[in-house]
Amino acid sequence: MASIAGSSALSFARPVKAINTNSLAFSPVRKGNTFLHLQPVPMRSVSCAAKKDTVDKVCEIVKKQLALPDHTEVCGESKFSELGADSLDTVEIVMGLEEHFDISVEESSAQTIATVEDAADLIDKLVAGKA
């Protein structure tokens, strides 16, 4: 198992590799990652990437809620706490997202949201489940 851990460190630096099944240690579900290694992504490859529109919309709502100036860099990886949001802000952001996307977020799921990417993933999942 040590060799797998070792190769996962390598795949971070060079995601365009054949061995990318270990590129994400924390995601047990593998959905169609056989074609992922063909894309030369500059940052680490994400197995269940949220849609770009969703991430953009989440960023927009976050910026509005936290009253951040327009030029602030908010990307998928931004953590809410880094952007200056406390847990109350996070609750408000999640409510805003619920309202905009017309979904209902579970109590337990809402507590685990820490980054913009998490929120976008959850939204996509709920929207897909609803459709």
């Binding site: 847990s87 109350l88 609750v91 408000e92 109590e107 507590q111």
Partner: protein
């Protein structure tokens, strides 16, 4: 009087906040909806740094009371909802 009520946990407080916001969404009147959200957020933010366990428990109980009031009022207001929407809710043409 129950002595030394335990301070609410972080999760409980957030759950109360979430319930309050959800209840606020149910109001058909724009003004009341916005007020409930704003006042709720302000109150929670104001009390966020309460160190004293008893004060925190008191604030939590207060919050729960307000939640009950809001739920009842949401029901009552929905019975007499106005037909016209507030101008703030009209989509920008």
């Amino acid at each position: 009087m129950a002595a030394a009520a335990a301070a609410p946990t972080r999760a409980e407080v957030l759950a109360l906040f979430r319930s309050l916001l959800r209840t606020a969404k149910q109001f058909s009147d724009y003004n009341i909806r916005e007020y409930t959200r704003r006042r709720g957020a302000d109150a929670f933010r104001e009390n966020r740094a309460l160190a004293d366990a008893q004060a925190a428990a008191a604030a939590f109980a207060e919050g729960k009371k307000h939640l009950e009031v809001a739920k009842r009022q949401a029901l009552v207001y929905s019975l007499y909802a106005p037909k016209a929407k507030s101008v703030m809710e009209l989509k920008v043409q």
